[in-house]
Symmetry: C2
Subunit: 418 residues, 2 copies
């Protein structure tokens, strides 16, 4: 075994051992450590910003993209936000140990479910150093051990933040191995991680599609992944036109680069003549490039859409528009071309709203609200470790509950089975 493999083995084993200890912690013990962490971050601001500057200087020297440098850079405000999110996670109820649905069975036993930590969670992320805090505190409060693998471009910032984590765990008399940061950013450690199902229970890659595919195509370990965000707003024939306008503009133009931004607008053929010109004007004001189906192009000025457009997550000021025959064809379009992320309908008709809710197979389905609400904070999760587009386990914004599972528990009084 080479030295890197030995190193990985030891990290993985320590995580596994820590996961056992994490299960035994009380809510108070976990909250105490989080309190210490908030204090520690506050007192180490100077050091963290200095170390972040090293990363930033390196990034500039390597001529990394301005977008990446933006994600990489920390300031007092971002440290305030990290501290605020720790305080928020302290306030969130502890999901571990929640018992639900205990019922007596004819045999005399009582059966229900108890919520438990998943075990060891590996987080693989890029540039943003605040993920080091966000991921740590969510995994920790939900009773999991975690192994963090941040990008090499952020390593000085990450180590500085991790020093605070290590100190706060020590202050709380807890194992520092409950949260571990890979200080070595050698890529072969990622390969070892993905090949260690005996140690790692779940992998959460946070980053671009290339990273997510590289991880999930090479592992038997469950991956909580967030692939695309091809989100739709469907304006039904019974929509309130003013509401539809407001939502369609907000969903597209609030922020272009986010996963919950609308990428395709679907408009019922019965209202298309009326609403499309209004919307086209609004989008033109915001300089949104419009791409449309044949019918759309007959009504407003737009480029002709190709099949590929319906599957595209533009993440910029581009919108594809399709006129649909009816609600069925709108739902079918969403289920066929969408990415099971977040999709909304605007309608005054309750039957259509119910139909849309039931039949659209997305992790968030919204009625008369902007897709921009599909977010852990807006949903009341306090924080999110990502948005899952998986079909099993957690879907949509993943908070504390998504980092736990449910086991069956049985309470008996000596029952045996005949």
């Amino acid at each position: 075994m080479n030295s890197l493999a030995t190193q990985w083995q030891s990290i993985a084993q320590q995580a596994k051992d820590s996961a056992e200890l994490m299960r035994t912690l009380s809510t108070e013990q976990k909250n105490n450590a989080l309190q210490y962490l908030a204090q520690e971050l506050d007192s180490q601001r100077q050091f963290i910003l200095e170390q972040n500057k090293v990363d930033l200087d390196n990034a500039k020297q390597k001529q990394l993209s301005p977008a990446l440098i933006d994600r990489l850079s920390l300031d007092q405000n971002k440290i305030d936000q990290m501290i605020a999110s720790i305080r928020q996670v302290i306030e969130l109820p502890d999901p571990v140990g929640e018992i639900t649905g205990m019922n007596y069975r004819p045999s005399g036993i009582q059966v229900g479910k108890m919520r438990s930590p998943l075990g060891v969670i590996a987080i693989i992320y890029e540039s943003r150093p605040n993920v080091t805090i966000e991921a740590s505190i969510l995994c920790f409060k939900s009773g999991n051990a975690c192994i963090l693998r941040g990008g090499s471009e952020a390593i000085h910032s990450n180590i500085a933040i991790y020093c605070c984590i290590e100190k706060s765990l020590e202050k709380a008399s807890l194992s520092k191995h409950s949260i571990q940061l890979l200080e070595n950013t050698d890529r072969s450690l990622i390969a070892m991680m993905t090949q260690s199902p005996e140690y790692i229970d779940v992998i959460i890659p946070r980053g671009g599609e290339a990273l997510i595919k590289a991880v999930s195509n090479n592992t038997q370990i469950p991956v909580i992944k967030h692939l695309h965000g091809v989100c739709h707003v469907y304006i039904d024939q019974f929509a309130d036109i003013e509401m539809a306008e407001k939502i369609a503009v907000n969903a597209k133009t609030r922020r272009y680069g986010v996963c919950n931004a609308m990428e395709t607008l679907l408009v019922d053929t019965n209202v298309a003549q009326k609403i499309l010109p209004i919307l086209a004007k609004r989008y033109q004001e915001k300089k949104v490039r419009l791409i449309g189906c044949e019918k759309t192009c007959q009504i407003i000025d737009a480029e002709v859409a190709t099949e590929e457009d319906w599957r595209t997550e533009y993440l910029e000021a581009i919108l594809s528009i399709k006129v649909t025959e009816n609600i069925e064809s709108a739902i079918s379009h969403i289920n066929h071309y969408g990415s099971a992320h977040s999709d909304a309908i605007v309608t005054k008709d309750i039957n259509r709203a119910q139909k849309f809710l039931k039949e659209v197979d997305s992790s968030s389905v919204l009625i008369n609200a902007s897709t921009a609400f599909a977010d852990g904070f807006e949903y009341g999760l306090g924080a999110e470790i990502g948005i899952s587009t998986n079909k099993i386990h957690a879907r949509g914004p993943v908070g504390l509950e998504g980092l736990t599972n449910q086991k069956y528990i049985v309470l008996g009084q000596g029952e045996i089975r005949s």
Copy 2:
């Protein structure tokens, strides 16, 4: 593309299209089809048994093992059981559409969760033709389309049963593609199935470890799998001795070949002297071969256990016994050597019971009850499609709920995000 690939493509596409229709069905529509299926099976008993005889004759000619022939054979009684399980699934509440946790958020939107079908489920199973019915009715009632791939040794029986399924779907005016049976048992179809994440949402292999590993090591599709059942009973120092005896005997000797049978008995050192001789006598009467740790061998007559024994699912009249220092070492043994299946404690002490519940990371954790209760029927699920030893999504017996997921739903009144 060869003809088999073309065939698979068409089956997979039909399943995917059917899954969309399945989402739209009402509970009544699904129950009607299930009623027809019960009637159809009842009227086709003769035909099914004849076709089963063809499989049995082939199996005998090929000198397949008596155990396999036993699993393969149908009789009136087994058909009665299939019909009974259909009637039972009709009675179960429809999990689809269940809405939970709707709460208002400060923004004005109301957020909660709705239960939905997973989509297309592939079931790969061996010999037992009754799985054709069990799997079909659970997938169907939970709103999923399914593709069934049974063993070649049971193909005549499976086709006969599938004829009833097809007829009942037709009678109910539903697509016959909502349940499909692969009549071609060429193994390369399994390979195509596991390589079709764009069509298949979940794979459930039901069979031996070789089958489960072959499937799960070769796919990126989530697999709901049931690996081993290395189940434990821990007799705590504060156990009721009579109750402990009753449970330890039942958990081991009720049936040897089942996954929820106890394979390792853990006994607290403070009661070992007292209870082990009593138990040894009971096990000797049942001709159970005893294998023990050093301390066990000092107290009763047993063979010396190797490290391997603690990980072994004997599935026969063999039991390994270990004397543990305390409850902590018992829990640690279970989490280390167990298979996260079903583990029980016998104790009168509530604090220890709570500790065991919280800290044992198994899909079923039992207090003062035999591990033999870890079963879908005993838990009130009506039926089970398998027992999951996964860490994410469904754990333990998987019934209708385990074949669904939860999406976020948002009800607004025109809210936009600032």
